[in-house]
């Protein structure tokens, strides 16, 4: 009996030792320095985003599009370096979830442990806001020990983030311009629509801020009035009266983890508004839309958040979303955009206003590397990263999938072309193209 106990204990000890050794081996492998002495020079780029957790699809889509973009660039011969050598582009993509700690950790890892010239990511605005904070604020400020490594974000869309650091840039749509134009157009399409009502997922900064700072003010700017008043402080100028918007909508808002929307939908129904606004991500947008359908709420006009103009919304609730208008920075209406949509699908993802930016980013990086004479050698890494940053800042215009993309140089932001799409029989149909 004692022998068998002893034998059981030693088996357990051996198993534990094996698991510990395996874990150690895995960790050492993961932390191992990449081989620096490479004969073939490559233009290394790193991407990261949410490939786990509730927003997993955003990272999966970005990686799929980025992989396709790098493949296309390499198939076309690669990237021309400063001495005329043609180099392949090489992508490594990391999962940073929708988490500030992990985004910061990956940024530090890529900056100090890899030879990547630039990073593309992260997915979530909260993670981006945190991550941008650890970068050097002003280039060349020796007293600021923040990271000195360029970033070109594709997804995190909350307004005004990139100006946190001169090393951070974004290629994301400008929601202020998009909703301004959308409501101007809706005014002409629905002259009888007078009143608006809506709700947002209040614990998601992008949904909430875009609702209070942009969507409702822009609707009011174009003559739509909130049912029952209460948003008198809203003048149509971005940001003014945002507290009033949140106060007026407090009975119709929800949280991202909510699964029951009956109270909020009842508030929508009670309002009887001509136009209803749902400012949230696909998961709760679908929950709310399904509940609205169950309660037979049929507004004249339904408007959604930019981030919901995706395949996830159609997969989750195409019936309930029927007729919803959303402005978007991507639709497969040009030959290039259609090609990217097909390539994304072939890589196990889908192209939308967020992930399609990853394609443009890879091509922007190629353009900048070629324009600034990057050498892509281990001993020129610091100088190459600085060249890429300076090249990004100097960009005035670049070619995008939907047309020319303008740059706001001192803020690191983009001005992207956009269209208005409507959910129509299980797909997004372009109903207006203001380009």
């Amino acid at each position: 009996m004692e022998n068998s106990t002893r034998s059981g204990t030693s088996i357990r000890a051996m198993t534990f030792a094996s698991v510990a050794a395996a874990a150690l081996a895995v960790t050492l492998t993961a932390f191992a320095q990449p081989a620096l002495a490479e004969t073939e020079r490559t233009v290394k780029i790193a991407g990261w985003g949410a490939k786990s957790g509730p927003l997993r699809s955003f990272g999966v889509n970005s990686e799929a599009v980025l992989t396709a973009a790098v493949q296309a660039i390499n198939d076309a011969g690669g990237v021309k370096l400063g001495d005329g050598t043609m180099a392949k582009m090489e992508l490594t993509y990391y999962d940073s979830a929708c988490n500030a700690d992990q985004a910061i950790s990956v940024a530090r890892k890529v900056e100090s442990q890899t030879e990547a010239l630039i990073g593309i990511g992260p997915t979530c605005s909260g993670a981006a806001a945190a991550m941008y904070g650890i970068f050097q604020k002003t280039v060349g400020d020796a007293s600021d020990t923040g990271l000195q490594f360029p970033i070109l974000t594709d997804t995190a869309i909350r307004p005004g983030l990139a100006k946190k650091s001169q090393w951070t840039f974004r290629n994301v749509p400008n929601e202020i311009a998009m909703y301004d134009a959308l409501f101007e157009w809706l005014r002409t399409q629905y002259p009888d629509a007078e009143t608006i009502y809506g709700g947002t997922e209040t614990d998601q900064a992008h949904s909430r801020l875009t609702f209070a700072l942009v969507i409702v003010p822009m609707a009011k700017k174009h003559g739509f009035e909130w049912v029952g008043g209460g948003i008198e402080g809203v003048t149509g100028k971005v940001g003014e009266g945002r507290e009033n918007v949140m106060e007026a909508s407090k009975s119709s808002n929800w949280l991202m983890a909510d699964t029951n929307f009956s109270v909020q939908a009842r508030a929508f129904k009670k309002s009887g508004a001509d136009m209803m606004i749902i400012s949230s991500h696909p998961f709760t947008t679908c929950g709310m839309l399904k509940e609205m359908k169950r309660q037979r709420i049929n507004p004249k006009v339904l408007v959604g958040l930019t981030s919901s103009s995706s395949a996830e919304t159609l997969k989750g609730c195409s019936d309930a979303a029927e007729g919803m208008y959303i402005p978007t920075g991507f639709a497969p209406i040009t030959e290039a955009a259609a090609q990217v949509a097909a390539l994304a699908e072939a890589n196990g993802g889908s192209a939308d206003l967020h992930s399609a930016a990853a394609w443009e980013n890879a091509h922007i990086i190629k353009q900048v590397v070629e324009a600034t004479g990057v050498m892509a050698k281990p001993d020129t890494l610091v100088a190459d990263r600085r060249k890429v940053r300076d090249g990004l800042e100097a960009l005035a215009n670049v070619d995008g999938l939907m047309g020319a993309i303008g740059r706001v140089q001192d803020e690191g932001e983009s001005i992207k072309p956009y269209v208005f799409v409507q959910a129509d029989a299980g797909s997004w149909t372009v109903v207006h193209d203001p380009r």
Partner: protein, 300 residues
């Protein structure tokens, strides 16, 4: 190198979070309120360095004291409940704190921008370290001074009468009370000490991350706080450190290259570790083995 130092900083901060739960667990209390105390320390210290422009050290100590004060207040009502009821009560406290900061907007102009907590938009610009030229090594050393101090204090306490009293209450409250131990004083003191330690951790976190928002302090963080001492074992303060290294170093960072498989392997390794070492990764036999290995077991 910045990456490794960043990881070492994160391990240090999470060790403080785990130790804050460890102190309570010695008295047999399981609290999910540590995320709330961590948040109070983070926001308080951040407000003090950003809005009031205090140096980081007094801000950090003030943040820890404010967190300890709230822990002290929570300690009294927590005496009336235990076990799962205490878990539910402390989750409610954590959520209350999180939602308070979710709604807190306190912006003041600073140059051409405004700074301070901004409800959903989060609290940016907590850049004391980088804006004052601290290197990654200096930040890491600063974090670990607190980790080592707290671990040394807890290690010493564990070997003193205080430690014996804490463990006595944790083992059998009735027996402890029958030998004259004041349960109220011990439990409230443990809760306050836990709040102080979590407050230090939160203050350090806010300044290393440079940005915090309410989503940082969810019930997931509170779960990690109690998972560290449970996984590491309660026989020694080092168990919490071992568990933090295992989770943050090996599972979160070490497995990142596995991509989509990371979360699955993460879960499997946690289950494997808890089955193979049910008393904790750093349980008493492991501690004895290590002592023998380094010749500290007192035998010839």
């Amino acid at each position: 190198m910045a990456y490794y130092l960043g990881l070492v900083q994160l391990i240090g901060i999470h060790t403080l979070l785990g130790l804050s739960a460890y102190v309570l667990m010695l008295t047999g209390q399981l609290s999910l309120g540590q995320a709330g105390f961590f948040a109070i320390g983070a926001y308080s210290a951040g407000i003090l360095t950003v809005i009031f422009e205090l140096p980081v050290l007094p801000a950090l100590l003030a943040g820890a004291l404010i967190a300890a004060f709230f822990a002290f207040l929570v300690g009294f009502p927590a005496l009336r409940v235990k076990g799962l009821m205490l878990v539910v009560a402390t989750i409610a406290f954590s959520e209350f704190v999180r939602l308070f900061f979710f709604n807190l907007s306190w912006r003041v102009p600073r140059g051409d921008i405004s700074v301070g907590p901004d409800s959903t938009n989060g609290f940016r610009e907590i850049r004391y370290f980088v804006a004052n030229g601290w290197s990654a090594f200096e930040i890491t050393a600063f974090v670990w001074i607190f980790v080592i101090l707290v671990m040394a204090l807890l290690w010493w306490a564990d070997r003193s009468r205080a430690g014996a009293v804490l463990r006595a209450v944790g083992e059998d409250e009735l027996a402890a009370q029958s030998v004259g131990i004041n349960l109220t004083a011990v439990k409230v003191a443990a809760m306050t000490a836990g709040g102080f330690i979590a407050g230090i951790g939160g203050a350090l976190y806010a300044h290393t991350a440079t940005y915090i928002d309410h989503l940082t302090f969810t019930v997931l963080l509170a779960t990690f706080a109690i998972a560290y001492p449970i996984l590491g074992g309660l026989s020694s303060v080092f168990g919490t450190l071992v568990a933090v290294i295992f989770i943050q170093g090996v599972l979160v960072e070490g497995l990142r290259f596995l991509g989509d498989w990371r979360n699955i392997v993460f879960g499997l390794l946690i289950i494997a570790a808890m089955n193979l070492k049910p008393s904790g990764l750093f349980d008493a036999p492991t501690a004895r083995m290590l002592k023998r290995a380094v010749g500290l077991d007192g035998r010839g």
